[in-house]
Symmetry: D3
C-alpha cells in the first residue's frame, strides 16, 4: 500500500477538534446526559482496528434503502451520478461520512478503493450501521472506521444509495448534518451541532479530573469521596491544578 | 366505536384493485420472481388482526429517525406541522401509509385516534416495520394494518418524523411512492409501480389455475404433472375454462 | 375444566382498580412519560389469549436464576418449601405474580395446575419474561397471563426459584413489590406504587377525552386541533361534559 | 375449498396414537425428562392455527440446504424428481412430514397445494423450522402444521431439497425417521422411536392424575401435597379411580 | 497510567488457584460434565483483551435491575451507599466480581476508575453479562474482564444496583457466592464451590495428558486410540510420566 | 506447542491455488455475482485469529444434528467410528473441513487436539457455523479457522455427527463436496466446483486492476472514471501492464 498523503482537514474549529481528540466517547455521553440527552451512543458498532486513530468530525450523511433488481445493476453502480460514489467525492475534508444502511450487512457500505480515496481527501472517518468489504485493506489505510460487522457482498446486491446530507438514523441515534461524532474503542457518540463547543469543554474538564482521580486511585485511595467528584474533591483538584499539577506521592 | 363511513377510494385503477383483492401475496411474489425481482416480501411483519380485509393500495410514505430530547417533546408533537400528524391528514384516500420506523418498536408508529381518522378518510391501510399502540382499538376500526409487534410507548420517546412521500426501506424492501402493496395473512408484498397492471393480470391467472388444481388435488390427483403447471395441464385447464368451468367429479 | 370460583380481590383500592380497568396501557405510559418515566412498558410480552380480561393489580415477585443439576432435581422441585410452589400459595389475592425468569424460555415459568390454583385464590394475573407450559389449559382458566413465548419444558430443566417479593427486573422494566401493573392487548405497564392514585386519575381523564375525540373523528373531523388536545378542544370537551355528554350529530 | 376426504392413517399402533391424542406435549416432555432426555421440545415453533387438531405421528423427514442459482431455477423446481415434490407424494399416510430448513424463513417450506395433497393422502401433519406460504389456505385444509413464522417467497429463491428420510435436526431437536411427534398449542415434542409405547402410557397416566388434581384445585385445595403428586396423593388418586372416579364435591 | 501495585490475593487456597491457572475453561467444563453438570459455560461473553491474564477466583456478586428515573439520578449515583460503588470497595481481594446486568448493554456495568480501584485492591477480575465503558483504559489496567460487548452510556441511564453477594444468574449460568470462576480466551466457566478442589485436580490431570497427546499428534500420530484417552494410551502416559516425561522423538 | 510439520497439500491445481491465495473473498464474490450467484458469502463467520493465513481449498463436509442423551455419551464419543473423529482422520490433505453445526454454539465443533492433527495432516483449514473450544491453542497451530463464536462445551452435550462428505448448508450458503472455499479477514466465500478455474482467473485480474487503481487513488486521482473500471481506464491499465507496470509518479 502506497503511503497516504491526507489533504488538510477543515470545518470544525481546530481548538474544539483538539479537545475532542483527548476525550473518550463515554465522557462525551456523560456531559450530554447532564444536558438531558440520553440516546447518543451508537449501538453495536465497533472500530475496524483497535489501533485506529480517534474519530472526530462533523457528519456528512449517506442514506441507503434496499436494492431493487431493475435499478441496482453493476452497470448502474458504475455511473458517475451514483450517490454512493458521489458521497466519496463530495464528503468534505475533515468530515465524517455517516452511512445509514438500515442496519443491513447483506451488502457492503464501502470497500478499500473508496476508503483510500476518502483518506487522501482528508475525510476524518466513516461510520456505518452496516459493514465493509476488504476490511483488512481498509484498516491499512489508517482511516478510522466503525461498523456492525463485515459485509463483503457487492453493494448493489442489497443496497441502493438514495440521498446525501440529510438527517438520518444510524445505529439507533439521530444524526443531523453537521452534528459532531467522536469515536474511540468504546464506540461512537453524536453531539448535536449547537452544543459542540460547550460539550468539548465540559468533557475535557472531566477527563482532566479523571486523570487526577486515577493518580490517587492507583496509589490506593478509595473511589468514595473521589469519584464521581464531590465538592471537596473538586476543591482539592482545583488546588492541585493551581499548584501546577505536582507529581503525586 | 361509532360506525365508520369510509370516503371513496381513488388513484389505483379500480379493475386492477379488484384483481389484486383476489390474489395472495405469495402469488404476486411468484410473478415478480419470474420478472427477476427476488426481494419483494416484507420481512417479519404480521397483520394486526386475522380477520382484517386484504390490503391493496399505492404507497404514501412516512420516514422516522430516532428522537432527540430537545426536538421531540410532547409539545412539539402536538404542532400541526408535525410530519407524523401531517401524514395522517395528507395520505391520499385509497393509498397505503407505509412507515419506515427503522425497525424500532421502542415507540409507537400510530395509535387508535390516527387509525380512526385514516379509516374515515378512505386510506386503504397502514404498514410499519415498527409497531402500534392501542392495537385492540385499531383492530376494531377495520383498517388493515401490519406491524412487527406492539409498540405502545408514545411516539416522541423514540421516533422523530423526518420526511413524507420519499423512497424508503420498510422491513427490508424498497418502497417508492406509488408502488402498490398487497397484504394478506402471509404478509405484505411490494409491486414496482410500472409493473402493477401486468403483475395483477399474471397473479390473477395463477390464482385461477390454482383453483382448478386445488379442485383436482382435493379429489385425489397427484401434484405431479399438475402443480406447478405443465404444458399439458395448462391445456387441460384452458379447455375446462372454455367449457365454462364445469363442476368436477 | 370445572368452573372457577375466584376468591375476593383485595389490597388495591377498589376505586383505583375500577379506574385502571377502564384505561389502556398506552394511556398509563403517556401519563408516566409526562412525569418523567420513560421506561415503563415491558418489552416483547404478549397476552396468552386475546380474549383475556384486563390485568390490574399490585406486584408480588418471584425471581428465578438458571438451574443447576445437583439442586434442581424433580425430587427437590416437589418439596413444599420450593419457592416456585410457595409463590403460588403465598401470592396475595388481588396481586399480580411477576416472574423474573431472566428472559429464559428454556423452561416453564408456570403450568396449568398452578394457574388453576392462582385463579381460585383470587390472584389477578401472572406476568413472566419467560413463558408457560400447558398454554391452552391456562387460557381456559381465564387468568390474565403475559409471556414472551411458550416454554413447555419442565421448570427444573433450566430455572431455579431463588427469591420471593424482592425488587426484580422483568422484560426490561424495574418492578418493586407493590408497584401496580396494568395489562391489555398492547402489553403490560408498571406504575410506581406511590403514583398509582394520581396516574389512575390522569389516565382515566385521557381515556374520556379520547372517547370525545373519537366521536368527532368518526364523524369526519381532522385530528389537527383535536388530538392531541389543545386548550380550545379541551374547553370544548369540558363544555360537552358539563352538558351531560349529549349525542354527537 | 372443497371438502377433504383424508385417506386412512397407518403405521403407528392405533392404541398408542389414541393415547397420544389425549396428552399434552408438556406431559410427554416430563416423561422423557424422567428418562434422561432433556432436549425434546422444538424451539420457537407455533401452530399455524389455534383450532388445528392435535398432531401425532411418526416422522418422515425432508432436508433443505440453501439454494444455488444454477441448480434452483423454477424450471428445475417443476421436475417430478425434485425431492420437495417427491416428499409430498412419498410421505406415508399417518406420518408427520418433518422439514429441516436450517431455520430459514427466506423461502417457503410448503404452500397450500402441497398441504391439500398431504391432507388428502392422510398425512398427519407438517413441522418445519422455517415457514409456509399461503398460510390462510393451509389452515383451511385442517392439516396440523407448525412453523417458525410465515415465509411466502417461492421455495427455489432460498431452499434446495437435498435428502429424504434421513436423520435431521429441526428447531434444535434431533429427529430420526420413525421418531414420533406430538404437537399441541405449546409446540412439538419428539419421542425416540423405541420409547413410544412406554412414553404414551406414562404420559396418559400423568394426564389422568392431572385431571384428578385439577378437580381438587378448582375446589380450593392447595397444590402442596397434591401437585406434583406425592405418595399420599397418589394413593388417594388410585382409590378414587378404583371407586369409579366419582363426582367431586 | 501509573503502575498498579495489586494487594495480596486471598480466600482461594493457593495450591488450587495455581492449578486452575494452568487449565482451560474447556477442561473444567469437561470435568464438570463427567459429574453431571451441563450448563456451566457462560454464553456469549468475551475477554476485553486477548492478552489479559487467566481469570481465577471465587465469586462475589452484584445484581442490577433496570433503572427508574426517580431513583437513578446522577446525584443518587454518587452516594457512598450506592451498591454499585460499594461493590467496588467491598469485593474481597482475590475474588471475582460477577455482575448480573440482566444481559443489558444499554448502560455500563463498570468504567476505568472502578477497574483501577479493583486492580489495586487485588480483586482477580470482573465478569458481566452486560458491558463496560472506557474499555481501552480498563484493558490497560491489566484486570481480567469479560463482557458481552461495550456499553459506554452512564450506569444510571439504564441500571440500578439492587443487591450484593446473593445468588444470581449471569450469562445463562447460576452463580452462588463462593463458586469459583475460571476464564480464558474461550470464555468463563463456573465451578460449584463444594467441588473446586476435586475439579482442579481432575482438570489439571486432563491438561497434562493433553500435553502428552499433543506431543504425539504433532509428530504424526492419529487421534484414534490417543484422544480422548483409552485405557492403553493412559497406561502409556503413566509410564511416560513415571520415566520423567522424556523428550519425544 | 511443538513445531508443526504440515504434510503436502493436494487435489486443488497448484496454479489455481496460487491465484486464489492472492485474491480477496470480496473479489471472488464480485466475480460470482457477474455469473448470477448472489448468495456465496458465509454469514456471520469470523477468522479465529487476525494473523492466520488465507484459507484456500476444496470442501470436505461434516454434518452435525442435535445430540440425544442415549446416543451421545462421552463413551460413544470416544469410539473410533464416531464420525466427528473420522472426519479428522479422513478429511483429505489440502481440503477444507466444512462443518454444518446447524448454527449451534451450544457445544464445540472442534478442539485443539483435533486442530493439531488436521494441521499435521496438511488440511487447509476448518469452517464451522458453530464454534470451537481451546480457541487460543487452535490459533497457535496456525490452522486457518472460521467460526461464529467460541463454543467451549464438550461436543456430545449438544452435537451428534451424522454424515460425512455430503452436500450441506453452512452459515447460509450451500456447500457441495469439492466446492472451493476462499477465506480472508472479511470472511469465507464458496466457489461452485465447476467454476473454480475461471473464477480464479477473473478474480486475480480484478485484484491486479485494483492495485493499479489504488496506486492512482493514493496519488490523488478521483474514483470516477477509474473505479469501477471504465473502458478507458481499462485501456490505460492494459497499456501500463504492457509497459511493464512502471513506477507511478
Amino acid at each position: 500500500m502506497t503511503t497516504m498523503a491526507p489533504a488538510p482537514v477543515q470545518e470544525l474549529d481546530e481548538q474544539i477538534r483538539a479537545k475532542l481528540l483527548r476525550v473518550g466517547s463515554a465522557n462525551v455521553a456523560n456531559v450530554l446526559l447532564a444536558r438531558g440527552f440520553r440516546n447518543v451512543m451508537m449501538l453495536g458498532l465497533a472500530p475496524l482496528a483497535d489501533s485506529q486513530e480517534q474519530l472526530v468530525g462533523p457528519a456528512y450523511t449517506l442514506r441507503f434503502i434496499p436494492a431493487r433488481e431493475d435499478l441496482d445493476s453493476m452497470a448502474n453502480y458504475g455511473r458517475d451520478d451514483n450517490k454512493h460514489r458521489r458521497a466519496i467525492e463530495e464528503c468534505p475534508s475533515g468530515a465524517v461520512l455517516v452511512i445509514d444502511a438500515g442496519g443491513s450487512t447483506a451488502a457492503s457500505s464501502m470497500g478499500d478503493m473508496m476508503a483510500t480515496r476518502l483518506r487522501y481527501r482528508g475525510v476524518s472517518g466513516v461510520v456505518t450501521d452496516g459493514g465493509y468489504r476488504d476490511s483488512a485493506a481498509i484498516a491499512e489505510t489508517g482511516l478510522p472506521c466503525y461498523q456492525q460487522r463485515n459485509a463483503p457482498p457487492a453493494t448493489p446486491i442489497a443496497l441502493h444509495p438514495i440521498a446525501l446530507d440529510e438527517p438520518v438514523g444510524c445505529a439507533g441515534v439521530a444524526v443531523y448534518p453537521g452534528d459532531v461524532l467522536v469515536g474511540d474503542r468504546d464506540g461512537v457518540v453524536v453531539i448535536p451541532r449547537d452544543l459542540v463547543a460547550e460539550v468539548a469543554d465540559a468533557a475535557l474538564d472531566a477527563v482532566e479530573y479523571e486523570e487526577f482521580a486515577a493518580g490517587h486511585i492507583a496509589r490506593g485511595r478509595s473511589i468514595l469521596g473521589l469519584f464521581p467528584a464531590t465538592p471537596d474533591s473538586r476543591t482539592e483538584y482545583d488546588e492541585w491544578v493551581a499548584a501546577g499539577r505536582p507529581e503525586m506521592e
